[in-house]
Amino acid sequence: MKCARCLLRLQGLGSVVPSARPANRYAYLLQSTTSPVLTKPLVAFNSHGEALRHFHGSSAWAKSSPPSSDLKEKEKEIDKSLLSRDELFERVARNAKTKAAFDKAIEAFTKRERRRRGHVEFIYAALQKMVEFGVERDLAVYNRLLDVFPKEVFVPRNFIQRMFNHYPRQQECAVQLLEQMENHGIMPNVDTKVLLVQIFGEKSHPMRKYQRLMYWFPRFKHVNPFPVPRLLPSDPVDLARLGLMRIANDLDTKVTVYQMPYTDITETGEEITLPHIVGTQSPDQVELLAKHDPSRPVFVEGPFPLWLRNVCVHYYVLRADPLPPGEKVEEPYDPERSLYYPLQLSLELERDMGDLGDDFDVEDLDEGPVFAMCMTGQGDQATLNQWISGLQEANAVLGRVPTLFRLDAGPRELQSPAGESHRPHPPPEAEPWVPGDEGGAGPARQEVDVTLEEEPQHSRGVKQ
């Protein structure tokens, strides 16, 4: 019944419309609201909004007019050569690999023919090429790619089609597209949902995948207690600042730039590049260093890796060995630090089994106090000497304390998996830091001249 009605309506249309027919002979026209391709609405819709097709025969538009004349016209237009999937992208990539070029490639495909044959392979190829063109994080590009699918063809129309995984290849392709979005952490928007409903209907696999994305992504968006900004600063000083604020573990810490990166050309034509030195010291660390016994040495250890998303920076640490258990002194808290309530209470309360609190039955790891941290462009001893001299401004103790350098120490032994002794006995690189004049005088009084360059807080390359 429905089919007879379809036929009548189409025949009616066929008599009215042939003059308004577009250049191509295909009646299989698709209407899409967001498609960049202009379509003339020549498709008849029934009361349910479903596109009507011819019941019998091919998708030739009407049996009254012979399609042969159009064929000849069309043959000249259709390019019948065998194209590989990547060809469109390669053609476009010759100019420049940008988002505009990628969009052009998609548009070229959609404009090429109405039927969009090979759209599945095209979309797979596009997904692979996205990284080259630099558009893998762009939601609009994904939506445009999803638009390449023909609309309403793959929507199941009855329960049998819904049961039997209607158009499985196309559904799998759309699921792969959404999976690539998921891998890059891009949240889809309402355009994606509308497109998916138009293409596959509501109970399809891509729609289900979209629902999962929309359920889990908001839940895991703010789960990181130490978030790293998506766009990392390109300036090494800013990056060092970000890294040091992160590892300092103290909100009161201040970051000081001891030296900005500087390239100088001397008279002889040599280039001298001075690396940046950015250091941090929190008030607690200053206090610890002030209390440090000058007869015990302090060590400069490093470089240790710190990953910020996909960038690895290295930091150096100024620390001392832990005191042996016999020498530890528990200093009482200064009651003047807090005038409103006592910081230490010595109450004789008995705690029973159920009130043990948060103490785990583990021995406390004492690795010695950390006094300061820094990040620098070049990790050699001269640069770190400069850092120490810069630190001496705030901590006079450093002038009297012997400083040993343990570079390339710490858990950065990635080369040998076999058990290597972790603590290097003072190897040749651990030299006592003695200024040039007093060679070999031992860890006695050491004079330092500190040169801190007064420069704006951004390096030269960055626009103010």
């Binding site: 590892i247 890796p305 620390r319 785990f360 583990v362």
Partner: protein
């Protein structure tokens, strides 16, 4: 290690001849495809020849090891028999009921490293490396290595670049499985020192059906990096269910009565070296945390 269970043909009885014709022979399928369910067969790299040795050839006899093994099993059996005399899990009843914190794993010597197994995507043909050793002063463990996200070129693997540290299944006497019972706790407490990379903690409970074998409850472990130790407290209600790496629609809270293993995995698609130092892993009871489950157990077919 225990032998894999091999399917046996039903004994040819009265109806045996008829049954055997209906029995699906693996060799009869096109391409020689394997019909054994995934839950029984260990992973076989594409291109590797199939291991078709009969079961009796897979046993290795060694007398010295056998004697040593018997001694070890006897010690474990003795411990297993005498512990209940003291109380549940070898502790006095009052202590077991009232304890709020328990250290489950700590790394105080080389024998602690035996309880852990390290693997990376080298098993599927990737180029990542991962090694485990004791840290400074033998007090911590250090997992280090480097990741490489280039997928192996075997035609079917799409993603790669991961490494895991997983605790081995705890065994009591005669190689039987024991499980951790953490019903009186509700938070996982770790002390770690990472390098800023995001890890994932996986808990594998004991399951009943073979389809549930790879059910793993996971949650994220974000490391800060730096020289200071990081205390991480994750309530068990936050762990979500995933199967073979895919998060599931039908979520359920983690049952704490039979936990088998804990694992740490790194797969953040960034090539480069990594390191993670773990001081101890413990469980504790946080009375302030009353949440049962953090995610909804929502409908399977929601209307769109």
């Amino acid at each position: 290690m225990s032998l894999s269970r091999i399917a046996r043909h039903p004994r040819a009885g009265l109806l045996g001849c008829i049954h055997q014709q209906l029995f699906l022979n693996p060799s009869s399928l096109p391409g020689g495809a394997d019909t054994r369910p995934m839950s029984r067969v260990p992973y076989r790299r594409p291109g590797e020849p199939k291991d078709n040795r009969p079961p009796w050839k897979k046993i290795k006899f060694d007398f010295a090891k056998g004697v040593e093994g018997v001694g070890r099993q006897m010690m474990l059996l003795k411990k297993e028999l005498l512990d209940p005399l003291v109380g549940p899990e070898g502790k006095p009843m009052l202590e077991h009921m009232l304890e709020q914190n328990r250290v489950v794993w700590e790394f105080r010597g080389p024998e602690c490293l035996e309880q852990w197994s390290v693997s990376s995507d080298r098993e599927i043909g990737g180029q990542s490396e991962a090694y485990l050793k004791l840290g400074r002063n033998d007090n911590t463990c250090l997992l280090y290595g480097s990741l490489n996200a280039a997928p192996p070129r075997d035609g079917e693997t799409r993603y790669s670049g991961y490494c895991t540290l997983r605790s081995k299944q705890r065994l009591c006497s005669f190689d039987r499985k024991t499980h951790f019972d953490w019903t009186s706790f509700n938070t996982l407490h770790l002390r770690v020192r990472g390098d800023g990379r995001p890890w994932m903690i996986n808990l594998a409970p004991e399951t009943y059906f073979s389809h549930q074998k790879d059910d793993i409850y996971s949650y994220f472990l974000y490391t800060r990096g730096g020289p200071y130790w990081q205390d991480v407290k994750i309530p068990f209600s936050k762990f979500f269910l995933g199967h073979r790496g895919r998060i599931q629609d039908d979520q359920h809270h983690l049952w704490l009565d039979k936990i088998n293993t804990i694992g740490f995995t790194l797969g953040d698609k960034v090539d480069g070296p990594f390191q993670l130092e773990i001081d101890f892993i413990g469980v504790c009871k946080d009375y302030a945390h009353t949440e049962e489950f953090a995610y909804e157990k929502y409908k399977r077919n929601p209307e769109v």
